[in-house]
Amino acid sequence: MKALLGLLGLAGLLALVEALPYTGLVSADFLPPTHRIASALAGEVGDSGFWHALWDTFVAWAIGLAIAVGAGIVAGIVIGTVPGLRAITASTIEFLRPIPSVALIPLAVLMYGTEIQSTLMLVVYASFWQVLIQVLYGVQDVDPVADETARSYGLGLWARIRYVLWPTALPYVMTGVRLAAAVALVLAITAELVIGAPGLGSRIAVAQASNAVPDMYALVAVTGLLGVAINLGARRVERRLLRWHQSVRGEVVV
Amino acid sequence: MLLEVRGLRKVYQGKERQVEAIRDLTFGVDAGDLVCLVGPSGCGKTTLLKCVAGLLNPTSGDVLLDGRRVSGPPPGMAVVFQEYGRSLFPWMSVRDNVELPLRQKKLPRARRRSMVDDALSSVGLGDTHDAYPWQLSGGMQQRVAIARAVAYQPNVLLMDEPFAAVDAQTRADLEDLIRDLWHKLGVTILFVTHDIDEAVYLGQRVIVLSSSPTVVREDVDIDLPDARDQLHTRAGNRFTELRTHIYAQIQAAKRESTPGSTDAARDTHLAKQVLQ
């Protein structure tokens, strides 16, 4: 029933976009009716350039996310386990985190031009913090009694990280990865759009520059679908990995 | 008769099946009475109370207040819920919690203030006006909820297992507080509980309910003296007789529903889910 209503809502959106240009409220030059966007989408799908762009965006997203997740987890565990490090780094993290990643755009352009590295720089910077913060929450959540027990049985640092810290932190890590995955897509598309690095974003910029309005809408819709797919996928992975985890933890809102 | 329940029936319509929580309930409460409702756990007590309060619409039958049919929360009725932690606004101070319903009544400011002060001191909370409710103990929070009801000056006060979640000693204090307020204010109280001792100790009458689907099993007059106290009343012979009698009734009610007991438990569970 709920899914049906949801489909009804989506159908309503499509019908609205189809009808709006005919009412004269908006010009069809600015908002083409649904069927023209759909045929533009069909044209894109038949174009190998579209698939190249999609692949480029995907690669930048995946590599950037992988780097950010790896770095975030390692940094989080080191900061969380080495005594005193957390207190020293807290203010710096609070300083650096709110710096908008787009501030780095000019720097990226100067250093890498329109290469993929430009995109990666923005993606990694923005998503790294999402992972790091969640890992730190996770490390903080480790039950001191469990850790003491592990110590008293003579478990070494590695074993404690492997068997005590990691299982506790995993739900938080997954939350961080999910948030980072969404942010990484935003920044990948942004970098392509503004800098012109290859990908869906630059294809949108080209469509806009050449006044191919239906194509632009079609591509925007694709980025939205990509975002939905990434959100759903991340949630699925999260659920699957945490199936064994009896306690369903509330997400820490940061 | 101030409050009248006639042929009340409530069926929850689930996705695939119906659950009959209340089959046929008829009883009345005179003005100024203190009546307790007891029944086996999951017998639809809360459903009944919500129907009386106008928070739920009965499937059939009527609730009459002062001869008028209740079709939504009526004026002059206040409810004290079991979940004190969730019935007080956590973002308001104790004072604002008590005052909010009065603001709705469009009373002038000075009058509201004095009513709030009176209500809070009548429940023994003279100096916690500015605290947030969650800063208080469970028993004190329930006192705030009672003060809010008292300040509202209702004709009828409905209480849904209000002391089920507080510890035993606090509970005894709160029971005495209710008897005390009832005497002072002359308000009509319908008090739902699963605790037989509490029902006998508090009530002038105890209405014993059957298992779900609920009907009235017995209407017991509590012929204990009006002045009651925790020590002597509970130790008396008559108290023991009454409580034993009601206990037996409830055990019988449970037994009668045993053939379908797992069903009944599931039903109540489902009923609660539907309720949410």
């Binding site: 949801g6 809502g9 501030a103 352009v109 975002g227 | 909010l100």
Partner: protein, 257 residues
């Protein structure tokens, strides 16, 4: 003593990092990495006076306008959608779709309608910020406690009073979380929309520096953006911790038990 220790801890690492940056770039001849001393020296020249009025202020005003618009619209729509189960079921997939669209792609779309003036930027910022606020409000309104809702009904608290005392206050922690997400999106969109098409503003100025290879000026702009991000997030936290003092207190009590 403890306060001193905390201040030392807070300041130590940033001080070290700045010193390292300072020393490492002190004799830098790398064109792209000018000495920090140089960046800091020109910072006041670049960003005070004329440019404060022509670039920094317009940017901040656009951000304020768009963000305010998004907050008002997001909360209003969120209350409407969240209050009705059927409306929620119909709109949820649509809203999730709009939220998943990376906000910067809105810039070329909205340019079609609103040209490249201030309106475009304000609308872009509003259109990007509104989704997290809207969806969080929906979630917050939906999750209003059922016992509290019954309490309101039985005391006949309805209409505007119910909205003000129950719905909005009950949803406020969620709304604040949405507003915090929206703030960082807003800063991003402020910069992007000015980099894309503008004749003034922070984003515009920084791109001009970069294209004109005025590297120390560009670095000073990056520093300024970082500072703005930091100050706004601190301001937000300050306001939030005041407005939601009850919520944080309640959470502490719940965690403690």
């Amino acid at each position: 003593m403890r306060i001193v220790l905390r201040i030392v801890l807070a300041v130590a690492l940033p001080a070290v990092l700045f010193t390292v940056w300072w020393l490492a770039t002190a004799g830098s001849t790398n064109f792209y990495l000018p000495p920090l001393r140089e960046i800091l020296r020109i910072f006041p020249d670049v960003w005070t006076g004329e440019r404060l009025r022509t670039d920094v202020l317009p940017s901040l005003l656009r951000l304020a306008g768009g963000y305010t618009l998004a907050v008002v619209a997001g909360i209003a729509l969120g209350v409407l959608v969240g209050g009705n189960r059927t409306v929620r079921a119909v709109l949820e997939p649509v809203l999730e779709f709009f939220r998943a669209i990376p906000p910067p792609v809105l810039v070329p779309v909205i340019m079609l309608f609103a040209g490249i003036g201030d309106t475009m930027k304000v609308v872009v910022i509003a259109a990007g910020c509104v989704w997290p606020i809207l969806l969080n409000t929906v979630e917050g309104v939906r999750a209003v406690d059922s016992v509290l809702a019954d309490t309101c009904r039985s005391y006949r608290i309805t209409g505007p009073a119910r909205l003000r005392h129950l719905v909005l206050r009950g949803a406020s922690p969620q709304i604040a979380a949405g507003m915090r997400q929206a703030l960082s999106i807003g800063i991003i969109l402020m910069v992007i929309s000015e980099m894309f098409a503008a004749s003034n503003g922070l984003g515009f100025a920084i791109v001009q520096f970069q294209r004109g290879f005025a590297i120390p000026d560009m670095w000073s702009g990056i520093l300024l953006l970082g500072l703005i991000g930091l100050v706004l997030s601190l301001l937000f936290r300050l306001v939030e911790s005041r407005a939601l003092a009850w919520y944080h207190g309640l959470r502490r009590v719940q965690r403690g038990s």
